[in-house]
Symmetry: D2
Subunit: 439 residues, 4 copies
């Protein structure tokens, strides 16, 4: 399958960048990035040899960075920024760095914030715009949340583009996840159809770190860092009771990255359950029996479950529940709590179970140091690309480099934890959990 990694452009770039960088190595000044600077998708030697043997050019991504020639003339450029979907640590850092880069480095003076996600474009909601400048964003990165507010869901693309036209917006920065980026792509296509010259830039936001072709997304590290403390304290609950069980539900609707990384950062976790794994509840090798054995030998157990784990278990459940309502349906945390309770009570097996669901506590926190730095670099790279007229792109991070990715590529499917890969195996090593919880 051919993968298209080409970034589209609005047209020729005739404006000299105000950044005053260099094109000469060795002069002590950073060099402008050329479109030919690209980063390999696969950095293994095997892939190199394979490509050479097959006379193939390997897949690569365009390196992000400042361009010598811009498409937009800064003094005449008008920018809109919108944040969509759930909160994620770092949103305000991204907003702030976009504004600071545009204002101080590119001398762009017209920047507006769209309030409450894509809703902010839609006249019927009547959300006022917010003028953004260095003063009103100066301290927001210390706070968590988003200055602009957010909302879920897409709005009518035509109306959005009407508004972009009406306001003479030249660049729209869309900060959001999967759905937001699909929305951004729809806007980009509508813009194109109308032959407008508006650049649509995506800044990927996924606290679960599960956007494809992106090694790392902002807020993710903060998220599992906060989860770490919560799990560590939960460990106190587990060891603080005879056959104590602490069960922590973490984010991860479709992927177990937060659960896996949090468990690795704590090391005392005994079980990690993620969406990517199949497991049985019952039977000799099923989760409940393995848990019971753990308790018998060590008298406590610490369990981390990603919210999307074990969805396969709900088919039975939903059949079971057809008669009696389906209150707990799909919440794997409460489901496991109930199943453990029922099973161990039935066996008269003594235990003490504490269920912990930090939910919004994690995503509304401010970004940690590493994420703060990352947000800053990511956002500035989004500005560089958009000012150079790139459109339909998402700024990402791959092999330790900031890259530009075509938006459709990133939203095609979600990134998953490879249960045969190194991360998951590290989790198995650290937890001592069996390779399989299947009979």
């Amino acid at each position: 399958m051919e993968i298209n990694s080409t970034i589209e452009s609005l047209g020729n770039c005739n404006v000299e960048s105000p950044l005053k960088l260099s094109r000469t190595k060795g002069d002590g000044i950073f060099d402008y990035i050329e479109d030919e600077d690209r980063i390999l998708y696969d950095s293994s030697l095997k892939n190199f040899l394979h490509c050479v043997d097959n006379n193939k050019i390997p897949l690569s991504f365009e390196k992000a960075g400042p361009k010598q020639h811009l498409y937009f003339e800064p003094a005449k450029t008008k920018i809109a920024i919108v944040t969509c979907g759930g909160l994620c640590p770092g949103l305000n850092n991204v907003i702030r760095s976009l504004v600071m880069e545009l204002h101080y480095r590119y001398n762009v003076r017209n920047i507006i914030g769209i309030r409450y996600g894509y809703e902010g474009f839609i006249p019927k909601y009547n959300h006022p715009y917010l003028e953004l400048n260095p003063e009103n964003v100066s301290h927001i990165h210390t706070l968590g949340g988003t200055l602009l507010g957010s909302s879920r869901g897409m709005q009518d693309v035509s109306i959005i583009v009407d508004q972009l036209e009406l306001m003479n917006i030249n660049i729209l920065f869309c900060i959001g996840g999967d759905g937001t980026l699909r929305g951004a792509q729809a806007i980009k296509e509508k813009v194109e159809k109308r032959k407008l010259k508006i650049a649509i830039a995506g800044i990927p936001k996924t606290i679960d770190n599960d956007i494809s072709y992106i090694d790392r997304s902002f807020g993710f590290e903060t998220a599992y860092g906060m989860a770490k403390d919560i799990i560590r304290y939960a460990h106190n609950e587990a060891i603080g009771a005879y056959n104590g069980i602490a069960l922590i539900k973490l984010m991860g609707r479709d992927s177990g990255f937060i659960a896996a990384n949090a468990a690795l950062s704590v090391q005392e976790v005994n079980f990690v359950l993620i969406p990517e794994m199949d497991f049985d509840l019952y039977g000799e090798h099923g989760f409940l029996n393995v848990l019971k054995k753990r308790l018998e030998s060590r008298k406590h157990a610490l369990i981390v479950v990603a919210e999307g784990a074990g969805q396969h278990l709900f088919e039975d459940v939903s059949r079971e529940k057809d008669d009696s309502g389906n209150v707990l349906h799909k919440d794997i945390g409460l489901f496991l709590k109930e199943k453990i309770t029922t099973e161990f009570n039935a066996l008269s097996f003594p235990y003490s179970l504490k269920y912990i669901d930090p939910s919004y506590i994690i995503r509304s926190a401010p970004a940690n140091a590493n994420d703060s730095k990352f947000c800053n670099q990511l956002s500035r790279n989004a500005v560089h690309a958009a000012m150079a007229g790139k459109t339909g792109f998402v700024v990402g991070y791959w092999n330790n480099q900031f890259v530009l990715l075509p938006t459709p590529l990133t939203v095609k499917e979600r990134k998953k934890v490879d249960v045969e890969g190194e991360l998951w195996w590290s989790v198995l090593e650290a937890t001592g959990q069996p390779v399989s919880l299947k009979n």
Copy 2:
């Protein structure tokens, strides 16, 4: 009503304290505390004048502190320590300081930890004891939780006293809440009946800070300190959505101290609901309508509710629910979430509600600096009193002083937030919440 504030004693104290303190002011060495050193219950001038006018001796509590003469001979003394009930920040600090004081200052070498609360005394559970010494408690105060484990509920008092006899225990330190202290008192009475010379010392543990005649209990400040961060982040959820509501449920089964103090430490909270207040849900001045007005004017609201608040609302609910199950019964957090949802949906009033229940996250954390210091001083004072043969007492804190209280006094009824008092009024000032949410 006469209040008995006299501390009982096992008998005459003939053993010179090894602490080598002084009885002379001005020699630069701390003085032993005498039984006559007492702290006034009411430190207002009005009470002074009232007592003088009525020729009354005011209520006072025995000051805690080291005694020159001990009842127990250190080399022959054997100690047991038990922790009961739910976790609370500081439990390990208390255990550690008891052990350190006994070992290093009183030269007591026989200290055992009872595992998993009062269960640890009961042979059928077969929980082994844990010998405690400076090495195995040295780092526990940094971790949270309790080294000894805990359990809820009282066990057979006779068996417990049998075990105390069997093991030749001279002093039992019971660290726990309300119920644990009642249990301690029952043990003390049984010990007395059997004419044993075993001191029963209570160290009050209530994360809700609701034990009577005690200004401050350990872990409480840590608890609302952690709640502060969670509320602050929740504020991001509230302002991050149009008509955003963040609803945080905090501990406080019978009292609103954590909720009130946490709200005061944050200052952005708009509503605090506690068990001590009566409020209506519906009607012009009812909570839902006041909340709606708040949203209309400010577009977001931050609500803190103590878990025991609004229990009066459940009578209706339970009648309502007789037909249809009572899943959410008694959980005021989920109840409010549902009521807000139902009401605002019915009114087609746009809103976005995030519900946050930090539950065990708070109580399993390690003690903060001030609580760590407090635990240390509290525990050492418990040792001083017990080594001097005091029994049936609880070590407390009143008017900035450590005091000794008769156990029955502390467990007679729970301390409550006085809705006409200064703390609650401070909350009203800081939140702008109406004095009454009643029609």
Copy 3:
């Protein structure tokens, strides 16, 4: 000696408070505080009996709180706020709560912030004023520092009062330490002389918690809480080397409260040196020899020294140094570092010394939860008193109650750690440090 604890007043109060509180117990509404509500200085039973026996009225302080009748008419009142001296956690909380209380509760609309301490009054510095309102103070309490800026030192009192007149200021809130409060008192006296009706209110700021007749000052707890972490990490340095010594210098120019409380919150500290104690460096019982013995038996030592400790040692030093310069003069931290180094090198005693001086790191941090709450209540009480025309007062905290103190009383002399008192003895118990380090 007679102690004057009377608060002065600008005159009769004829304005009804807008707070709409009550004068009736039991109506569920907080009651206005009367001038007769007073808190005893000494809450011991012994003092009660002593006063009764001697027919004496005991010393007491006026309770702080809202007054039914105000001196100033809110709509016509103009407020100035100034912060002076070094940073202290909570300054911004105080500013914010003053503004919020004045704006929302008293409906005062003219509030200005004086920039950079008393300098801000002096025309030659040309510092602009800052209008204060709920918007521009809304987030400052999360940041640490002071929005207004600060400076050290007093300025010309006449000019300050000229400015107060010129701007029609009715109430000046002076937030600062010892010197600032003396300055406030001088302003108050000059105001009086000119027969002006300007209330001068003091909000005591001392990170060292050493203002007399005040149990607790804001920022203090945050300070030793931060010191706790630093000391705990320093413990790693001590145990991480053979005969490892970690020496931490903490704040405390004239008093050892931070050092003592920080040590109590950590528990692993082995030596605490404070200004209030006398100690020898040399000789059998001198510090260096006792330190050496500690290292010989335990292979590491953790030392906390308050910056003002050991000043008596510098007399010798300064004589010593007359010939050779006095670079290290008066810095006890570097002095001890040098003395330990010299002594142990001379003895060929192996050791590894790490010196840690957190300095500004602590005082520039934001307030913790308990201090945040405290700042809020303290500031609102300052507003209540000032609006009622009280002047020349400082708002304080005594026996768990907010009180008003005459400014001269608080600045007469600094509060000290009583080396024969309970706090210091707790430190000796926790550290195992000898009662005396004198020969």
Copy 4:
């Protein structure tokens, strides 16, 4: 220049790994890593094309990971672990993960810890060994520091190897920096000379993150994360005074990675001075004049200086100081403090300077979440390689992969911040600092 990236081996591997991994893709079980699995040094497309054009095999590093065949038989293997040099967040995590992996995964039961660095091998110091097992390392990762203690400097290699022989050590894990790894290499060579079969494994520890060919070293992220808070608070000092200057000295003897990353994570920093940059103090474009201009326009400045910055300035100084002593020599922090003071005083330019040197506060802290995870994975990879008989290697991280590097390669020269590279340019963007501070 040819770079040797080959890892040496003790001999044939005939022992089947107890890890029970797979060699089959798609079976859901992680696959053993083969020696042929290698990671490209340069992952740019340009390098790919260059290599293809020149018919060159690009430089690559051996991928770390579990091997199917081991050199050492677990039941008979004896391990020694030593930690050397200064503290670094994560040391205890590394120790713990080595022990856990060896014990639980490889069933190795003989693990000893060498106390106080290489000193621990030398009989004359008489430091006892410490047996390591899951119990005594279970909680150490929460504490910071190193359980084993450390010391600086190399010891006699012959004696070390004598001891390894004497104790029948099969694998020595050396955790340390530059010097430690050179020492490890010397040990490896001596072992070889004596024809011993002892694997010498290096785990690189550099809080400055300046070991060559290693993208990331443990503790580095924790370090700049802690620096972030300190800088943020320092910002309060800067804005809290008129023309306030806060000057923070951070680690970075030869490289500015911590300073650069910390500044990027804060975003309010105005100047970053690092060892890799040349700058003038005086003259129009010199630091002092640029700082003065910054103050004139913005009234405050926040400066971060790496400890090794500006060493070129000391040549003058040392000449200057030959007559008058050299107290401040080589401490750039104090040097800048003095120069700013002198210059601005001479110009009668008002300012307020606060100097902050967190020193040991940072390096003695426990590892953050991301570093904890990293330490765990790094250590387990060190075990895999060593059990497979690899020797003379260092376990590293490159292009998001754990790799094995020949020790000599890593210690040849230190990694530096490229002042023409992306990191430094990001710093210039975020700070607004001029590209050059040279005249």
